[in-house]
Amino acid sequence: MQMGDHQMMGNQSQKATFVRSYRTFVQKVIPAQAGGTVPQNVAYVQNQGVRMVQQDLNGQQRIMQPMVRPVPQNGTGPHFVRQVPAGQSYQANYGQGVGPAGAIPVVTPISQQQQPRTMYVTTQQGHQVVQGHHRPPQQNQQLAVQQQHQQNFNQQPQNNQMMMQQQQIRQQQAQHHQMAQPQMARHQMVQQHQQPIQQRHLQQPQLPQQQQVFPPRGMNLAVPLREPSPEPVVIKREEPENPPPSSSMKPEEPMPDDSDIDIQIRNVVCNYTLPLHIDLRKLAMNTHNVTYEREKGVMMKQKRSPGCYIKVYSSGKVYIVGCRSEEDCKRAARSIARHVQRVMGKTKEKVQIRNYRVNNVLATCRLPFGIKIEEVAAKYPSESTYEPELSVGLVWRSVTPKATLRIHTTGSITVTGASSEADVLEVLSKIYPIVLEFRCHERAKGNVAAQKKRKRKAPTNTRAPAVKRERFDDANYGNSGVINNQVYFSDEDEDLYDDLDLDE
């Protein structure tokens, strides 16, 4: 029996235990009714052709099967969980490398040893929280190991799995109780993290990297406001046991609430080549929802299911714009490729996607504290540019990973030009301590309540305004995406990649 991708604990809470595997890009979460095992046949396997092999800690090789598509759970709340390829550690675990072999920490180690942090990655399809995995020598630190280990359990003895399941069940139940309380009660968060930590210890000798316990995310109160934006990547930061010394904060200021920081991926742009000659007219005739421009030799199609815009050229180049996550992008890419293959009648041959490249990932993030950007600009003149006349925020260009961040004084950060979601996380993790140093009182412009109200009103429009705001900004001119309800492909813009600094 394959260890379930998640287990359903009771009817009230939707908790899922997700097992992550490296480098798969489809996620599957199957709610199990009986609160225990997950029947394999319920899984919807998405990509049959993808097989990945991963080295286990013990040196065993596991063949990872593609993850099953998660069934959306009712009432899971706004925060959805996304399984992320485990090669990217989404944890802002400063000062900790990820221990067990194979888990590659993307986060730069920042020496805040007093701040154990866990990262929770959430996506649309279900609740999933990747919790840091505890390293035996350091009690208070948590490592996020994100792996997807379905096949782990294939090879494990059954009793191990049962034991782990039970442990997880216990953990989750306990956590659930704690989680049910408002997010603002940070201390509870601490407790619940410590629980799985201890449990991890037990598990550790057997499955060093495998168990991930995911407390439900539904209790996150900050999240409902963001519901319309799917697939946020949440970095959950645990309340540090010793409050970090912050020199820039006056003693009478209240500690900014840093219990939860959301990163939302708004747009992923990619392109690839299909090495076969495409008869655009035939393709357009056989595809629904297309626009075919003969003069330019391009066919534009709007897909609904991952919700993106695709431009196909007769040379075989395909551009995909508007996806909300990397996996979505890849899925859309595949589905288009398959469709083209079918239309062109080449189903017999193997059609490869060549040069699949994610050009741009756009993400937004709101920190719960304000930032004194003038001081940041003064201290880091090489990477940051602050021109109040030209742009409202400070433009921070990071070289590794290559990305452009706009840091606003209200605490919201926009990342553009990143190459992948992992890059987004990495660069945000890098910027977090820098920005933390210059934090100050919440500098929300205008009424915060009014802002929240605005968000609740039109869920379907949150996508457009967020991107719209960026459209008229100089540096983001090079973005593609849905702008003003029109598809805007940056290759139509003469300042192509003006600010993205993509390598030529």
Binding site: I373, P388, R443, D474
Partner: protein, 306 residues
Amino acid sequence: MSGPVQCPHHPDVHLIEDHRAGDLVCPACGLVVGDRLVDVGTEWRSFSNEKSGNDPSRVGAPESPYLSGGDLSTSIAVGFGGSDSDNTLANAQRKTMNNTDRQMTTAMNLIREMSERVHLPRNIQESAFRMFKEVLDSGVLRGKNIEAQAAACLYIVCRQDGVPRTFKEICAISRVSKKEIGRCFKIIVRNSSTNLEHVTSADFMSRFCGNLYLPNSIQAAATRIAKRAVDMDLVAGRSPISIAAAAIYMASQASAEKRTAKEIGDIAGAAEVTIRQTYKLLYPKAAELFPEDFKFETAIEGLPSS
């Protein structure tokens, strides 16, 4: 000939130059040692008088280090109403001129024009020429509108010399959009790695107040208000221009010389609503912002609330 000339009878005597005759005379014995000295000064000195038809000086303009030939060459200028042959001549010269030179001369003319519009002094123009030459040599702005390049150079130079002009002001004296100037500006800064200081509200106070014909006391008060506002962090994230404009608004409203937000907005290049919004941020702490010795024509309570 041997080295410096000297009197054969008095070798260690310093010779006197006689410019009128062009002689080198020995003061001891009166011997004319060297004659036919060449005078390198100007032939004529032309003063402005009504009768001056043409300038008889044949020396030309001073040497310019920005042009490749040092501006020693002659350029054909065709006035209004020039005949065809004149135009042909001018075109012929334009075609054979080096591209760099041509761009440089165009840019120099543009910068001169723009500076004249706002009465920028000659040293700023020279600095702008120098900066433009650097930019042209490095080639980072190749392809961009030359007017935008010139405007961006001018902006940077003004800022470097401590007399910053806002982007909107530069935009007003040139023909390109603020966005274009901003783009060129960013590229230049990134490449030349000059550390430009951030603009503060105080830099613009004298100019804005002068254009509004506000007396010195109000200008000083507005400067103080702006500085205090920034220190107290009331105006987080607002552009220094807006802060300056709102401070001027507050100071002028409290004195005898009241100015409306619209007037201030026109001068400063800020929108009226922006000034109002920033003023709203300042209003609650008005009492602390004013300098102590300010004479209130309208008391703080009488200040408009928006």
